[in-house]
Symmetry: C2
Subunit: 311 residues, 2 copies
């Protein structure tokens, strides 16, 4: 399967204008798009959003890449001019959304899943989390592999400096910049995804390591969302999934969230309760599998999350 | 001077309901107070702010403690029922504010200064940054000293468990919770002030260390704001301040921002430029001092900051 996925990737190494996502950008984009769906096509978007021109483009890029906004399909010949909230954007940041100001870690986990789990995700993000065989890697190794990928595919060839810039942005999404003495720190907050602690710098400069582990701030409800979405995307129409696939396949929750087998198994043991019996994990008969007995949409798991928040 | 400050402290060890400030709370409080100055007295504040009852109280506490909101003095017999934006709240988060969504590190530095620099600040925060003689300390040592302080003063005596809760909240303001395997992590983002890297946990459990250093994300404009505010609060009416006072006195920028002498001195060398000659640092005549030649309000430094942001 991996080979086929690899061949079908349409490489995309730009759009973020080298800015990582900021806390306020998705709520801000959603807020503005609701009153003005053509905001990002307007000359005065800089004024409305209170940022410079490059940042306007970056906000648009991220709102689309995270799947919070989408092209409005009801507008003929739209081509990205008129945007609207996606179903997920509505569920998270809409009027009755579960986290309209982006205040919860669970929202970050969900957005992370949405950003990296599909072949049409920003290439570096998808490749690093799903196809890259290394847990520890140097920036140079990632660059070499992405260049190979780009050369193999039918897509427009891009220069290594563009891919390198994309890698730098990818790293800064998950790893805080070093606060060293001689560096000038930009006057901006770290990218929120740093808090997920999915990637860390090793003692070797410019080398990084994925952190596979418990990730205890990940709620089971978000894992259920990802599991169902993974199921419908990569394995539609079947009614059971093997533990190994959920743990290691491209786009799987175990792989995208870098969960240890123990942690994943603990989440799966709660499936029955969280989904009110729609999903069930069974590891008694020698084969560990999740069984799906009836329809249960990814969004249903989010409703659950909302009702479990009582504070 | 310190003795007198110590004696005049009105100890306050509560109000935050054990929640640290969240990114969105100050912009949210400001946004709501502008349309409804009595919001926090209303039964339905929970609905408007989208949080539980304790969090409503916590948001109110922090908005007042950071000096972003204030009692409206035009309402007779107000007693905290009707709030309004303070001058600082307006400058930061108002309609024409410099950082309406709280997106910049400089805003965090400014809010930090405002929170900890005055004797009427939340006691643990003021004491730890200004009167506590240790750079490295255990939670227990801070507790002992705060209990002594509370016993010395005329204020209502509070139990050690209340002070301990306050210390825990203080620590979590600046130090990220350990993301260990066996702990359940709350589904909330770290307190934004963690990014200032002013305090870190040492290898001894429950022991902490202030990080005195360069803090290169602190802009000179914010240092100027703090310097002028410190000047007007603690040394009004004089026209020069010694380097040592700016570096080490209670409420001073050097002390509150935990700056090394070298870093402070680098900021002071930029005073002349940043304040267009209103402040000048002179260390040529054997005595290092800052001279103030004309009126220049703390707020003027912020205007400068705004015009230096071009992105």
């Amino acid at each position: 399967m991996n080979l086929q996925i690899r061949e079908n990737i349409v490489t995309r190494f730009s759009g973020h204008e080298t800015f990582t996502l900021r806390y306020t950008w998705l709520p801000k984009a959603v807020h503005h798009i609701k009153s003005d769906p053509e905001l990002f096509s307007r000359e005065d978007a800089m004024v409305s959003l209170g940022v410079g021109k490059n940042m306007v483009r970056s906000i648009r890029h991220w709102a689309l890449a995270f799947g919070v906004l989408e092209d409005d399909p009801n507008i003929p010949n739209n081509r990205g001019r008129t945007l609207r909230l996606s179903q997920l954007g509505e569920a998270l940041f809409g009027d009755d959304g579960i986290d309209p100001y982006l205040e919860n870690m669970s929202t970050l986990w969900l957005l992370h899943y949405n950003l990296v789990s599909k072949p049409d995700s920003p290439t570096t993000w998808f490749y690093a989390f799903n196809l890259f065989p290394r847990m520890e890697f140097s920036s140079k190794q990632l660059l070499d592999e992405l260049q190979n990928l780009n050369n193999e595919t039918e897509n427009k060839k891009v220069s290594s400096s563009i891919i390198q810039r994309d890698i730098n942005c990818f790293i800064r999404t998950y790893v805080p910049p070093k606060k060293s003495k001689n560096e000038v720190i930009e006057d901006t907050l770290d990218c929120p995804f740093v808090e997920l602690a999915l990637l860390r710098e090793t003692t070797t400069p410019n080398s990084f390591c994925f952190c596979r582990g418990t990730h205890s701030s990940l709620p089971t409800e978000i894992l259920v969302f990802a599991l169902l979405d993974f199921w419908d995307t990569y394995n539609p129409g079947i009614n059971s999934l093997k533990f190994e696939d959920i743990a290691y396949e491209v786009g799987s929750p175990g792989r995208v969230f870098k969960l240890s087998e123990v942690a994943l198994s603990e989440h799966l043991h709660k499936l029955d309760t969280v989904t009110k019996g729609a999903l069930r994990f069974d590891s008694t008969a020698g084969l560990s599998q999740v069984y799906r007995s009836r329809d249960y949409a990814p969004q249903d798991a989010l409703k659950n999350l909302r009702s479990s928040r009582s504070k």
